[in-house]
């Protein structure tokens, strides 16, 4: 590929090159800009989906539902003790009442501390909330594992419920996965649109330089020699446009990242990009250039084959 850019000056002059004077670099810049955004979104959704799945697949929650607070506390302690003795369990954490109140406070409008300040008592006094035991399993929580957990705590808390954490957020994961594929679909469509733009540009360039190409042909020039001139021109256009698009796209992604971080939502904060994702995004102008080059080559070679 390197040899493509070291065509001698006299060969380059055969097809005049107007850098940034035509629409091609700008069209490619816009395409690459959109591709960078769509790829960034797709990769962020992919990572978010994986993170959420990894975090939740081996976790489960036990709800001890009992109106009598003393009995509920007793059942919670007994169940937690039983669970700690199981080989399936890696960690057992009984959620403190304040944490449970904080969890549901957004739906009720006041936090426990705010209630204390207002001297209106606590949520636990007014609403019979279940106690919660957060479990981390040694392996993903499938139906078999959940049945084992239910059987283990039934003697201590007959009304207890065991819920896999992944089950609660499954619709969110499905949505994230859908968004991921929509983003990657957009990248594919943009790549096709870029290729179409290159085809139009290559055909226009061929038409503009028809006379010169005819002369080179009749003087013994090969299709390969002529094609290289166009490939180089279009590859440079694509590279220039691609770098411009990458700079703009990366700036937008960074800005959005800062704004998402400021939201403070756990789900939104999971939308991050790893160094591998940044590497993939950084490669987009190169891939765009290769796509443009290959498309230009196929277009030019195809057109030249129609000439004797």
């Amino acid at each position: 590929m390197f040899s493509l850019f070291v065509i001698p000056g006299h060969d380059r002059r055969l097809i005049p090159e107007g850098r940034l004077s035509g629409p091609m670099p700008w069209v490619i810049a816009i395409m690459i800009f959109l591709m960078v955004l769509a790829t960034g979104a797709g990769l962020a959704f992919a990572e978010a989906g994986n993170n959420i799945s990894d975090q939740l697949s081996s976790r489960a929650t036990v709800q001890i539902i009992e109106a009598n607070p003393d009995l509920k506390a007793q059942q919670t302690n007994d169940a937690a003790a039983r669970l700690r003795g199981m080989a399936l369990i890696e960690e057992v954490r009984v959620l403190p009442p304040k944490e449970i109140e904080d969890l549901i406070a957004p739906w009720l409008g006041q936090t426990a501390s705010e209630m204390e300040e207002a001297q209106t008592g606590t949520l636990l006094e007014d609403i019979p909330l279940p106690s919660l035991i957060d479990l981390t399993l040694v392996r993903p929580a499938g139906e078999k594992e959940l049945a084992e957990l239910r059987a283990a705590i039934r003697p201590f808390a007959a009304g207890a419920r065991v819920e896999p954490s992944s089950g609660l957020i499954a619709p969110v994961i499905a949505l994230v996965r859908s968004l991921q594929w929509v983003a990657f679909g957009l990248v594919a469509l943009l790549a096709m649109a870029t290729a179409a733009a290159v085809i139009i540009s290559a055909r226009a360039a061929l038409n503009t330089h028809k006379e010169t190409i005819g002369v080179i042909h009749l003087l013994g020039g090969t299709d390969e020699q002529i094609s290289r001139l166009f490939q180089r021109r279009i590859a440079l256009d694509a590279l220039l446009g691609g770098i411009l698009g990458l700079i703009c796209g990366t700036a937008i992604i960074l800005l959005l990242g800062i704004q998402l971080s400021a939201l403070g939502s756990g789900l939104m904060q999971s939308l991050g990009l790893s160094w591998l994702s940044w590497l993939i995004i950084g490669l987009i102008p190169i891939l765009g250039m290769i796509l443009a080059m290959v498309t230009a080559r196929m277009t030019v070679m195809g057109a030249l084959k129609k000439i004797l």
Partner: protein, 236 residues
């Protein structure tokens, strides 16, 4: 004597119309000089296009340098074209290249190194009297100067055949004579020359030249040279 070009019952038709060239059968021999004459529209340019491989015939056989040029694959055509020099009727100079670069074009296409082509191109410019116009673009050259650049470009690669379509059409009689002398000089070096012209005065200027005459797409052979190999020029 081995033939360099051989046509057998060659016909050429553009689209669905009548044949532009019909039943052409002739042989060209190495080191010979041919004038191709005929009225406008007789098919001179079409015949030359077949010779310099810009066109395939609709029928018949063409052998060039001993090989079948009709069924030859596209991939092999560039190699054969580099052995043929062409002076186009409309010059076909590359407008954004200087006179020097236009003349150097066949050498660059053939992969000649830059340092090896500077001297021959400069000599060729001097030969056609344009030594001081090396950097001039075609648009700044007169018709005659453009024609000389086109001729220099055609001969710079020392082709085995030189095909020239009305090469003296845009120059004064004195320059026409000089160009003919240039062709003769090339001919004495062994190049087969085919010059299409409707200027009958030119025919007498080259000793030993043969004449091919096209009439309504058919070939007449007034000198008999196409049927019988000519003597080498130094014995003619």
């Amino acid at each position: 004597m081995n033939e360099i070009v051989q046509f057998e019952n060659v016909g050429l038709r553009y689209g669905a119309g009548a044949e532009t060239l019909s039943d052409l059968t002739f042989t060209l021999y190495p080191g010979s000089f041919y004038f191709l004459t005929g009225a406008s529209g007789a098919g001179k340019t079409s015949l030359l296009k077949l010779l310099y491989l810009a066109q395939r015939p609709s029928r018949g056989l063409i052998r060039l340098f001993g090989e079948d040029a009709v069924t030859m694959s596209r991939a092999r055509l560039p190699g054969f074209r580099r052995r043929i020099g062409v002076v186009f009727q409309d010059f076909r100079l590359v407008p954004h290249l200087s006179a020097f670069d236009n003349i150097a074009l066949p050498l660059r296409v053939a992969g000649v190194k830059e340092k090896e082509l500077v001297t021959p191109v400069a000599e060729m410019l001097d030969w056609v009297g344009l030594g001081d116009r090396a950097e001039a673009r075609p648009a700044t050259l007169s018709g005659g100067e453009q024609q000389r650049v086109a001729i220099a470009r055609a001969v710079i690669g020392r082709p085995e055949i030189l095909v020239a379509d009305e090469p003296t059409g845009n120059v004064d009689p004195e320059m026409a004579l000089r160009l003919l002398q240039l062709f003769e000089a090339l001919n004495t070096l062994g190049t087969t020359i085919v010059v299409a012209t409707h200027d009958i005065h030119l025919l007498s200027k080259v000793a030993g030249a043969q004449m091919m005459r096209l009439e309504k797409g058919g070939l007449s052979d007034p000198t008999g040279s196409l049927r019988n190999p000519p003597l080498p020029r130094d014995r003619a």
